[in-house]
Symmetry: C2
Subunit: 219 residues, 2 copies
DNA sequence: TAAAATATTTAGACAAGCCTAAAAATATAA
DNA sequence: TTATATTTTTAGGCTTGTCTAAATATTTTA
């Protein structure tokens, strides 16, 4: 099945929204995610339904079919692999890779994704810590241990972030906290739940608002 | 100036045709290069002329303006850098990279091309031996020493090919002749101008038809 | 549960790029 | 140099994906 870039973007948006919401995805939610008008979304949804990529009943929202989901996961896979490439090989920063990956994910090829994956030595997570689906579309849903829940004196490795907004990414860059950074919790402040954390290069104080948004693997 | 992928393809086609022909490029030539009807080309040419990307007078063919040429060279630069990436990093073959590069060349970013170039360690030629324009758009027009003109007992390095058709590329792959291969001319057969050539791995007989299509740098 | 607010869909229009068929210009040949 | 052939352009139409405005459902609230 040959899909346009636009169609692929719709599937991806529905996939992400469904993942975040569990139930059917509304026209309005899609229109916000994709920055178009709701009426345009309705049009496109009908076309996707004709192609059996989404389930759709008027006024009831949409969900992906098996095929639709498969395609969406493929796009997510490509997106995350390209992000790893941009970060690890081309020296982009955490906060710069997303926009470029949005374009690269639509490159069509039977072999490119797998070759890219091999070149990157089969990464399991993208720079935001989201898991990369394998060739068959299996995706490990990552466990949500947050930095905020790490005990005093314990160490952990940063495997991702929950909020991937630009300001947050820039803030982490300033703190020199990256994917793979090892952090040790020195002390916790019961008053405001902030914590003192030792990174590779410094000791820093991190507010609860921040530590709640950093996924870690405990060591 | 933000151009569509289609517009970029027109500029690139005109650039390549102009390079091969010197004079103005005809509607029909473009339509063949780009696989559309001549009438569609006329439409698009008018739009490109409105944007000052081409010079156009009815029935007189087109040529690129300074701006049009600058953009075309940028696309060529991106195309060739991606080809190097696909060949050197992802282990694609000589004959597979073109089609993919056709897609990758349209990725939009202010920084990607330069970062890619640095990652590839500033290659000067693409896998077909065509020169890669630098950041400023300067492009070295490559000298045309063909394998056929190399003297007996002399060695040379393959820097490109003249004919980049699929069958020819496949044929060279079979002979294990690649960009950068060192070849030594053992003997030449005056009767049919074929030559006996030593590659890294074997001695092979090469017809004049082949040796006339391989660019080399004499050693 | 009826009225008001919100969400969704329909209808009609538009731009980009392509097409076919026909008209106009240019090039070729007798 | 006039007739014929070829190339190029024009005219009108189609598809994709978008939009606005209006109509219709659904949800919320009183």
């Amino acid at each position: 099945m040959k899909l346009s870039q636009t169609e692929e973007n719709y599937l991806k948006a529905i996939y992400n929204l469904a993942y975040a919401n569990a139930n059917n995805v509304s026209t309005t939610m899609i229109s916000e995610a994709i920055k178009t008008k709701a009426s345009s979304v309705t049009d496109m949804i009908k076309k996707l339904a004709d192609k059996d990529l989404v389930h759709y009943k008027k006024y009831q929202g949409v969900s992906l079919t098996k095929i639709g989901q498969k395609i969406a996961v493929e796009i997510v896979r490509k997106h995350r692999l390209w992000e790893v490439f941009l970060l690890n090989k081309l020296n982009y920063n955490w906060d710069e890779v997303h926009e470029l990956a949005e374009q690269l994910e639509h490159i069509k090829s039977d072999t490119l994704t797998d070759k890219l994956e091999a070149f990157l030595e089969f990464p399991t997570h993208d720079p935001h810590g989201d898991p990369i689906p394998d060739k068959e579309g299996n995706i490990e849903h990552h466990k949500d241990t947050m930095l905020s829940s790490v005990e005093t004196e314990k160490s952990c490795v940063v495997i991702g972030i929950k909020d991937s907004s630009d300001p947050f990414l820039k803030f982490l860059d300033k703190l020199q906290i990256q994917l793979g950074s090892t952090l040790k919790v020195i002390s916790k402040e019961p008053f405001d739940n902030s914590m003192l954390v030792k990174t590779e290069s410094a000791s820093i104080s991190i507010s609860n608002q921040i530590s709640k948004n950093i996924f870690v693997k405990k060591l």
